[in-house]
């Protein structure tokens, strides 16, 4: 455990990392994409993918790690005020890390199955619940376009009710903030940074095109785990 952390760590000095290992604080690093930055074109440009991954997601991770260290300190010292004060930074940055980690897995180049609709139980559930894939997409796009400011639109499964739902979250709030039993299958980032360089203000065009690179294989796997 310590060795792996030493090898992959970037943001912390070796000594403080060692100290944290003793305390048991796990910090995070930027996950790799399973595809090249340009592989999702023309749906999403390589320029956006690179900025999105290397700058935006990395910043969330850096700030999340920082907040976690501060929280760890505060908890160790019994400093309740500081611990509480840090909650919004943890929600913003931790949420950003959680959401983007899912997002990269939600995408795949077309030659690797991106855009290919799900067969099997998820495909069936979509038809059952929404009528058709087209209707699901139309609904998600409507909700995604209607998000005011920054946020996400999700296709999720309620693991208790065994039902598909569409939800939106604001800023970087993770999906669980909308319901503890909601498991994300597909999240679409509708923050302007996710599309602006390519689509400018026309969010609906981004939403229309992203479906060409949505990785339904991943979504199906998650679904099957919750609804075997």
């Amino acid at each position: 455990m310590a060795l792996r952390t030493l090898v992959s760590g970037k943001t912390l000095g070796a000594l403080s990392r060692f100290q944290q290992q003793i305390r048991g604080l796990q910090t995070f690093t930027l996950p790799d994409l399973a595809y090249d930055y340009g592989a999702l074109e023309p749906a999403i440009s390589g320029e956006i993918m690179q900025l999105h991954h290397q700058k935006h997601h990395q910043t969330y991770i850096t700030n999340y790690n920082k907040a976690l260290e501060q929280l760890d300190d505060a908890i160790a010292k019994g400093d309740a005020s500081t611990a509480v004060k840090l909650q919004s930074a943890i929600k913003f940055n931790g949420g950003g890390h959680v959401n983007h980690s899912i997002f990269w897995k939600n995408l795949a180049p077309t030659h690797e199955g991106g855009g290919e609709p799900p067969h099997g139980s998820l495909g069936w559930a979509i038809d059952q619940h929404f009528g058709s894939m087209e209707k699901l997409i139309a609904k998600m796009n409507t909700e995604g376009a209607a998000v005011q400011g920054s946020g996400w639109v999700w296709l999720a499964v309620d693991k208790e009710l065994k039902r598909l739902v569409i939800e939106t979250t604001a800023n970087q709030d993770p999906l669980v903030t909308k319901g503890a039993s909601l498991v994300p299958l597909i999240g679409i980032d509708v923050w302007e940074h996710a599309y602006y360089l390519q689509y400018k203000n026309v969010r609906p065009d981004y939403l229309k095109n992203i479906w060409k690179v949505i990785n339904w294989k991943y979504a199906s796997e998650v679904y099957k785990k919750e609804c075997p």
Binding site: L51, F92, S150, Y196, K200, N201
Partner: protein, 286 residues
């Protein structure tokens, strides 16, 4: 003037800021298509094309569609904002109305060759309330950087009053009113908190992404160093002080009227132990 035409001919919307001759900001003094170059190299023509030409214009078009034939139609923009804010239980027109106001206010907060330092009374108040001009700049930068997600950073003139409807400062004085830096999410603006906005910076990603990508801090610095019009801020401060003084005068007049109706404690007969005839009157009321 295309900008004014977009708001006035399209509807009855009026912005108190566009209609006041003192504000010599971007939208009033410059004509499209020249306007798009006006803030270069600090804010690109491309940004203005989209930010002003698409985002801002869409808010205007969409609000017009939304209010047509409703009770909001014909109201002033600030009244629409207030009505649709609905004390926090936000109604559909709010986003568009507030964003129109916010963007007009933003364009007029900037000018070509802006930046520098404020002077006169504005600088005095800045020194009083922030310690120094640098103190203000740091607070403003911090607010703009830490507004998470979409939103705005503001310098406002804040009256000293409690956030309850009928609270009034019984002895108002200039000293009580302060300059404050605040930030707000999405479309919310300090009008809904009854502050008097003096300056704003749009920190929605669309405001800076084409020029700065993810580097919001660089955008904030550029705005403060090269674009902000402190003259406009000073004018707005003047106007705010006038408004505050007028409303305090109104309140004082209302107080004076009420005093005439005030029953002096020694005249009150409403308690038990009053004259017999009053006790009878009491019974008659049943």
């Amino acid at each position: 003037m295309v900008m004014v035409a977009a708001t006035t001919t399209a509807s009855h919307l009026t912005s108190t800021f566009l209609s006041t001759p003192d504000f010599c900001g971007l939208s009033r003094s410059l004509q499209w298509p020249h306007m798009q170059h006006a803030l270069e190299p600090h804010m690109s023509k491309e940004t203005l094309e989209y930010h002003w030409g698409k985002h801002h214009r869409a808010y205007v078009d969409n609000l017009n569609k939304q209010i047509e034939g409703t009770e909001l139609d014909g109201m002033s923009l600030e009244s629409i904002i207030s009505a649709s804010y609905n004390k926090g239980d936000i109604l559909p027109a709010f986003n568009n109305a507030a964003q129109i106001w916010n963007h007009e206010f933003f364009w007029e907060s900037m000018k070509p060759d802006g930046g520098g330092k404020p002077t006169g009374e504005l600088l005095e108040l800045i020194n009083r309330d922030f310690g120094s001009f640098e103190g203000l700049i740091n607070k403003f930068k911090s607010a703009a950087t830490t507004q998470f997600g979409s939103g705005w950073a503001w310098l406002v003139y804040k009256e000293h009053k409690l956030d309850v409807p009928n609270a009034r400062n019984p002895r108002p004085s200039e000293e009580d009113n302060k300059l404050v830096v605040v930030k707000s999410p999405n479309a919310v603006n300090p009008l809904v908190w009854e502050y008097h906005p003096l300056l704003t910076l749009d920190v929605w990603e669309h405001a800076y992404y084409l020029d700065f990508e993810n580097r919001r801090p660089d955008y904030i610095l550029t705005f403060l160093d090269k674009l902000v019009s402190w003259e406009t801020v000073s004018s707005r401060l003047e106007a705010a002080k006038v408004r505050v003084a007028e409303s305090e005068k109104e309140m004082a007049e209302i107080d004076a009227d009420e005093d005439l109706d005030t029953i002096e404690p020694e005249d009150t007969d409403m308690y038990f132990g009053s004259e017999a005839e009053d006790a009878e009157d009491f019974l008659d009321d049943e």
